[in-house]
């Protein structure tokens, strides 16, 4: 069943086009659209340019035709003038025109060679002009040279004028047709260009439409799913582990959504496991504390009894015992030691539990209290205690007194024999907290021990060298932690240690 489902999913995935392909396809469509519009516009511009060029050519053809007509009139007038006056100078412009007209005919022909009808007209005009020149103008000049009177009477027949009229009529037709050709071409170019403008505008609108469509599509198909995943990620980060996104799509974004959901699943699973083991741990811790508290409390009664019995034995049967008194002392000492241990244990189990009686207390007051309590040991160690300026803090007075007492006590306890003990107490600001430190020039410790010493009953030295149950620093840590602070030590073996802990500062607004 699983394989079958996977198979169908595979089929659907290959059937649906990936997002990349779709985006590429859309871009290609837009590019083709823009390209087509460009090509249409270029074609239109080219058409207009061609129209302008052919219009210019037609103008040139008209100019050439006019020039040719002018040449013919020059010839006719020259011949008439010569025939009438027999003065050669009348023939000068005519002769010039007679030598230039064949070139002008050729030029006209070449300028209209793109239109068969016009070409035929130009050819016809060329033949007529040739006839006019060869069958009228030149023979007439010849006749005028020999028989001036005959030439004059021939001119009167107006044969030349008739020929010229016909040629001019043909010219008029040629010109009219050429102008029509120009107009038609211009109109066509105009039409084509306005059509191209319309197509261009339409194409542009279409491009904008497609761009809008693509934007909307991308918004719908890409941005919105991504935003959904991002929002879900935010909720997940904020702790809402049940956050999931829909993962119906079969493309890259679908993969993203599925990946996100899988991640959230795994996160939720491990969080549940963690919470479970945390609760488990808390419960066993509480049980352990309860056990310690109950045990130490309950142990006190038999110890008191043992101690009382030892007292009674000493008092009533001291004489009977002789050397046995040493044993009784042993019992008493051991009992005392056990009671100290139990007291410390009780204190540790109580420390860090229950309500804190918070009040604003100057640290100096609490230091002085501790120094009073420790007056004996300080005196014994011959220690010099320096207290810098200290702030006020918002704390549980008894707890912090206990911490200071333990730290100062340690400072005067772990001294180097023969080195005058010096203890310095001070404070410095650390954000919203005060950092309070107790520095000594005692025996110090190795760096790897610096962590361990805050564990309960952890001792670095034998009880013979330095007495104590080893519970003091553990109690300190519990109290400081309950205040929201932390405690740590920096030390160099043989040169001394500095114990530091932080306490919340009094807000001075």
């Amino acid at each position: 069943v699983t394989r079958a489902r996977e198979g169908s999913r595979l089929v659907r995935r290959t059937f649906r086009t990936p997002l990349t392909t779709r985006v590429l396809l859309l871009s290609a469509v837009a590019a083709v659209l823009v390209g087509t519009v460009m090509v249409v516009l270029i074609v239109a511009v080219t058409g207009q340019r061609d129209a302008a060029r052919s219009a210019f050519r037609s103008q040139e053809a008209l100019a050439a035709g006019n020039q040719l007509e002018k040449s013919l009139i020059t010839i006719e007038n020259g011949v008439r003038g010569y025939v009438a006056s027999r003065r050669e100078r009348f023939l000068d412009p005519a002769n010039e025109a007679l030598s230039s007209y064949p070139g002008e005919v050729r030029q006209l022909s070449s300028l209209v060679d793109d239109d068969p009808g016009q070409q035929a007209r130009a050819r016809q005009i060329g033949v007529e002009i040739d006839d006019y020149v060869k069958l009228w103008a030149r023979p007439l000049i010849g006749v005028a040279r020999r028989q001036p009177a005959q030439a004059r009477s021939i001119v009167i027949t107006n044969q030349g004028r008739l020929r010229l009229d016909r040629i001019q009529r043909d010219f008029a037709r040629l010109f009219a047709r050429e102008r029509a050709v120009i107009n038609a071409r211009e109109q066509r170019a105009e039409q084509r260009s306005s059509r191209a403008t319309a197509i261009g505008a339409g194409g542009l609108a279409l491009v904008l439409l497609v761009a809008g469509g693509v934007t909307l599509y991308l918004r719908r198909a890409v941005v919105r799913p991504v935003v959904t995943v991002a929002a879900a990620t935010g909720r997940l980060a904020a702790g809402e582990l049940s956050a999931r996104v829909p993962a119906r799509r079969h493309d890259e974004l679908g993969d993203l959504a599925r990946g996100f959901n899988a991640m959230a699943d795994s996160l939720q699973r491990s969080r549940a496991q963690l919470e479970h083991s945390n609760a488990e741990l808390k419960r066993s811790n509480a049980e352990l504390d309860q056990f310690a508290s109950v045990t130490s409390h309950d142990l006190q009664a038999p110890l008191t009894t043992i101690s009382m019995y030892a007292e009674l034995i000493e008092r009533r049967h001291a004489s009977d015992l002789n050397g046995g008194m040493a044993l009784v002392d042993g019992i008493r000492n051991a009992t005392q030691e056990a009671r100290t241990l139990i007291r410390d244990l009780l204190e540790y189990s109580r420390a860090g539990r229950g309500e804190l009686a918070l009040e604003v207390v100057p640290v100096e007051e609490m230091v002085n209290r501790a120094l009073e309590v420790l007056a004996g040991p300080i005196e014994a160690a011959g220690a010099r205690v320096t207290v810098s300026e200290l702030p006020s803090v918002r704390v549980d007075r008894a707890g912090v007194c206990r911490v200071l007492q333990n730290l100062i006590g340690n400072a005067v306890k772990f001294t180097v024999p023969g080195r005058p003990s010096e203890v310095a107490i001070g404070a410095s600001r650390e954000g919203t907290m005060w950092r309070i430190w107790v520095r000594d020039n005692g025996i110090g410790m190795k760096a790897e021990d610096a962590e361990r010493i805050f564990q309960p009953f952890k001792r670095l030295h034998g009880e013979e060298a330095y007495p104590g149950t080893g519970i003091g620093l553990a109690i300190c840590e519990r109290i400081v932690t309950q205040h929201g602070g932390r405690i740590w030590v920096t030390s160099t073996l043989g040169e001394g240690s500095t114990f530091l802990f932080t306490l919340p500062a009094v807000e001075t607004t």
């Binding site: 090509v39 270029i42 074609v43 080219t46 061609d50 060029r53 022909s109 070449s110 060679d113 070409q119 050819r123 006839d131 060869k134 069958l135 009228w136 030149r138 023979p139 007439l140 010849g142 006749v143 028989q147 009177a149 005959q150 030439a151 004059r152 009477s153 021939i154 009167i156 027949t157 044969q159």
Partner: protein, 305 residues
């Protein structure tokens, strides 16, 4: 695929449009290649000449000689000059006119054959050949309305001198300066009271009918003369000579085309009698038929086409 093809096409067109533009190939189609150059035949500026032109042209073309007909060129002086210039290869000319107006022979020849010999010699000298003469003669003549003749008792040209107030002669412009015109009339008939009214050839009969002119210079083969509405005046002193037609052709044109072309032209000339000419002229001038059509009918009837 079609779109791609279209795009490629468009691009190709663009490239072509960019590269093309000035492809002014010289037009070589008019030169004509191997086809022999056509024989250029000219005609003078009146209806009978158009007919003659068509007759020679169609007969030659029927025998495979290409012909280019240049009609309506002008009077003898100018058409002969065009022939001399080489603008024409051939044109049909009236032998008398040729002698008097081109060759400047003032003395009238004794007979048509004498005139022909003189003209032939003249053309020979100029590098031309005078081909065979037609049987018909289209002489100049003067015609009046029968009423005018009765009223003024006019039968011969000489009678015109006695017409009170003088006479107006409708004639081609050259009539004024020619011997076969006012010059000869003044010399032979002492006709001093005549003025020439220049008219395009063919318009004389209308001018005569409308009374604009008293006398018209006509040709003896004019179709109108067959109608009886006009009277041709006698010419006892012989101002107007005989006017048989003979085509003048350039020697080089004749040489390049061989003796057959001469035979074809002579065959046509030989069949042009006065009756035939007058009938054809009437068909063209009075019934308004196209000279090409009339010439075609005649050539077919004569087995020349």
């Amino acid at each position: 695929v079609t779109r791609r093809v279209a795009v490629v096409l468009v691009l190709t067109l663009l490239v072509a449009a960019g590269c093309g533009g000035g492809s002014n190939k010289p037009n070589t189609a008019t030169a004509g290649g191997d086809a022999p150059a056509p024989l250029v035949i000219g005609t003078k500026n009146f209806a009978e000449q158009f007919l003659l032109g068509e007759l020679y042209k169609q007969a030659l073309e029927a025998k495979g000689f290409p012909v280019e007909l240049k009609e309506n060129i002008g009077s003898s002086e100018i058409i002969h000059q065009a022939l001399t210039d080489g603008a024409l290869d051939m044109y049909p000319e009236y032998v008398g006119v040729l002698l008097s107006e081109v060759a400047n022979v003032r003395r009238r020849p004794a007979s048509p054959s004498a005139a022909y010999k003189t003209a032939q010699a003249f053309e020979q000298k100029n590098g031309f050949v005078l081909l065979g003469m037609t049987p018909f003669s289209d002489a100049n003549a003067l015609a009046v309305k029968p009423a005018f003749a009765r009223r003024n008792h006019v039968r011969d040209i000489g009678d015109l001198a006695d017409v009170p107030g003088g006479v107006t002669i409708g004639a081609p412009p050259e009539f004024r300066t020619r011997f076969e015109g006012l010059v000869g009339l003044a010399q032979r008939y002492r006709l001093r009271n005549a003025t020439a009214e220049p008219l395009a050839i063919g318009r004389q009969y209308a001018a005569l009918d409308s009374g604009r002119v008293d006398v018209a210079a006509v040709f003896t083969t004019d179709g109108q003369l067959a109608s009886g509405r006009y009277v041709v005046l006698g010419d006892p002193r012989g101002v107007f000579g005989t006017q048989h037609v003979a085509p003048i052709i350039s020697r080089s044109a004749l040489r390049t085309r061989g003796p057959r072309v001469r035979a074809v032209i002579d065959a046509v000339s030989k069949r042009l009698t006065a009756t035939a000419m007058r009938r054809m002229n009437a068909a063209v001038q009075l019934r308004g038929r196209a000279s090409a059509e009339v010439a075609d009918e005649f050539l077919r009837s004569q087995g020349l086409k």
